[in-house]
């Protein structure tokens, strides 16, 4: 059975795919689907409850929450994809080279990674944002860079175990050079755990970026970004619950979708990997 078929039989993965498919569709069609301009204010129509005019209500400046939530899907998915791309593009080669060549190089890389892993959770991303100064682009860079050590370590581990296989030794005995051994025999062993981790990592990255925006360190007004919308809605919780509820639901569904798909991929791609 190929991958697609096995995924289709995995209930969790299927639900995750449906959620993410819906969100991706929302993100792509947001400009046409949105009833209104997501950043245009209408002070006289401020704080309208959800209804036939404003499907999901309007915020404190009279902006349409539904349109903002739709456009927010674009930002969140883009931010997640870019951060994870940064993390994998930097982390995977580092882990590959360190694990394959071993020795002093590996020792040095591992010491550096140990230091970077000493900054728990979102702290490393916070430190990087403070260096680069707040903003959505810098949040993507910070969230991406802060995940590099985790990917480098994961790939290094996979390489170390793949390197011990007899077929690697055989290839070497037959005169294969390092680059060809890496590409043909080592890399395929790295891909499965990397895909699983990157999928789960997408959820984490989206959560972290939204959190940084919530703290005021990411997207700047009037951008329709979910974390920022939650921060703005926080001050109007009593009068207008809808301002913060719908973007919050958006973040949760996105992360839930990524987690379901990631868990499913793990079951399908590599049954040996368990939490």
């Amino acid at each position: 059975m190929d991958l697609a078929q096995r995924l289709a039989r995995h209930r969790g993965a299927l639900v995750g795919l449906v959620i993410l498919g819906g969100l991706a569709l929302m993100a792509v069609t947001a400009p046409w689907l949105s009833p209104r301009d997501p950043i245009r204010t209408a002070p006289r129509a401020a704080l309208q409850p959800p209804g036939s005019t404003y499907w999901l209500g309007s915020d404190q400046l009279g902006r349409d929450v539904a349109s903002r939530v739709l456009h927010g899907a674009r930002i969140s998915l883009t931010v997640g994809l870019i951060s994870v791309t940064i993390a994998v593009a930097l982390g995977a080669p580092i882990g590959l080279v360190a694990g394959f060549y071993g020795g002093r190089l590996d020792g040095f890389v591992m010491r550096v990674l140990d230091v970077l892993l000493a900054f728990p959770g979102i702290l490393l991303a916070l430190a990087i944002v403070s260096v680069l100064s707040p903003g959505l682009t810098n949040v993507m860079i910070a969230v991406g860079l802060s995940a590099v050590p985790a990917y480098a370590r994961l790939v290094r581990g996979s390489v170390l175990s793949a390197r011990e296989n007899l077929y690697v030794e055989a290839a070497r005995a037959l005169g294969s050079r390092d680059p060809s051994i890496l590409a043909r025999y080592i890399l395929p062993n790295v891909v499965a755990p990397l895909v699983v981790t990157a999928t789960l990592g997408l959820g984490t990255a989206i959560l972290a970026s939204a959190a940084l925006s919530f703290l005021g360190l990411g997207s700047q007004p009037p951008q329709a970004e979910w974390g920022r919308m939650l921060a703005e809605g926080r001050d109007y919780l009593r009068e207008a619950w809808w301002i913060s509820t719908f973007p919050g639901l958006g973040i949760m569904l996105t992360v839930l979708g990524m987690n379901l798909l990631g868990d499913g991929l793990r079951d399908v791609l590599d049954p040996r990997l368990k939490v």
Binding site: F119, G121, L217, G227, G233, W241, N259
Partner: protein, 307 residues
């Protein structure tokens, strides 16, 4: 055991050394002139720039600066906040208790909720109870803490008026933030407890205990749970670090004083010495807590020491 502990403790030294180097470098990685960035909003006359440069010792050779930074940090001197003009150590000291209280309370929530949930799921494997528990855990890991916090404020503060929505102080102020912060860790612990418990329940010694005619409860608690909890202790240190970092967000949601509010304010105000101080402090605390957990764990499980 002593040599094992000594080796583990010694291994921490280069890491902490690297942490000071990383935090020290922050100022030099800033694109542009950090002094001008820090002063930007106020003045740009050359005298004041030079004065601040001297005040931060940025006019000295870089090795001397680093030596000053490390010796200062060891003695508990993390420099002076450029906004409040107070020692960074004083600022941290004033906010530490509130964050530590929050992180500990969140840990209690995480263990108190996570272990029973995972246990119930494992004991009723594949039943609706198992599915429901694991679905709840999945929701827990997917929930943004800042949204959960707002929902709790909406229900328990604004509507039911059981707990205050914001601020710090007595225990009543601690309940909602602790639940908010502890939820993700609770979900992770629940999933881990379940898988660990399922593994232990399949072991020979559990079957032996059952075969001896021991009752279900005794087998579950004395033979299975005790061993199933071992891997959970290992992630204790890791989760505590996540709680410390997560406090940054939860403190903002509940307008609660603490290290998180301190660092976010520092970043927004371009107060680099303050940010560096808090980052260094939290990372060091995290490394030391993990060290403690590891050593305690080795005492509890001899296989680690000799394995």
């Amino acid at each position: 055991m002593l040599t094992w502990s000594a080796r583990r403790i010694l291994a921490v030294v280069p890491v902490l050394f690297g942490v000071t180097l990383a935090v020290f470098s922050m100022l030099f990685l800033v694109p542009g002139d950090p002094v001008k960035i820090m002063l930007a909003e106020f003045v740009t006359n050359p005298d004041q720039v030079a004065q601040m440069r001297a005040q931060l010792h940025l006019d000295e050779p870089i090795l001397q600066q680093y030596a000053r930074f490390v010796t200062g940090a060891v003695r508990g001197d993390l420099g002076t906040s450029i906004r409040s003009r107070r020692p960074v150590t004083t600022e941290i000291g004033e906010n530490l208790a509130s964050t530590a209280q929050l992180a500990l309370a969140a840990m209690v929530v995480a263990v108190g909720l996570g272990v029973p949930l995972g246990l119930v799921a494992a004991l009723s494997r594949s039943s609706w109870l198992d599915v429901a528990s694991m679905a709840a855990a999945l929701l827990g890991v997917s929930m943004p803490s800042f949204w959960l916090g707002l929902l709790l404020i909406f229900v328990f503060s604004l509507h039911l008026a059981w707990f205050p929505a914001t601020g710090g102080g007595d225990l009543r102020h601690l309940v909602l933030p602790a639940i908010t912060l502890g939820m993700i860790a609770a979900a992770i612990i629940a999933r881990l407890t379940r898988s660990s418990m399922l593994e232990v329940l399949g072991q020979d010694y559990v079957r032996t205990a059952r075969a001896k005619g021991l009752g279900g409860f005794s087998v579950v608690v004395r033979h299975a749970l005790k061993n199933a909890l071992i891997p959970i202790i290992t992630i204790f240190g890791l989760q505590f670090g996540n709680l410390l970092a997560g406090a940054v967000i939860v403190e903002t949601v509940f307008s609660r004083p603490g290290l998180g509010r301190l660092i976010v304010g520092g970043i927004l105000n371009k107060d680099f010495p303050l940010v560096q101080g808090v980052v260094l402090f939290v990372a060091t605390a995290y490394v030391l807590i993990n060290l403690l957990v590891d050593v305690a764990y080795a005492y509890a499980d001899p296989r680690i020491r000799f394995g």
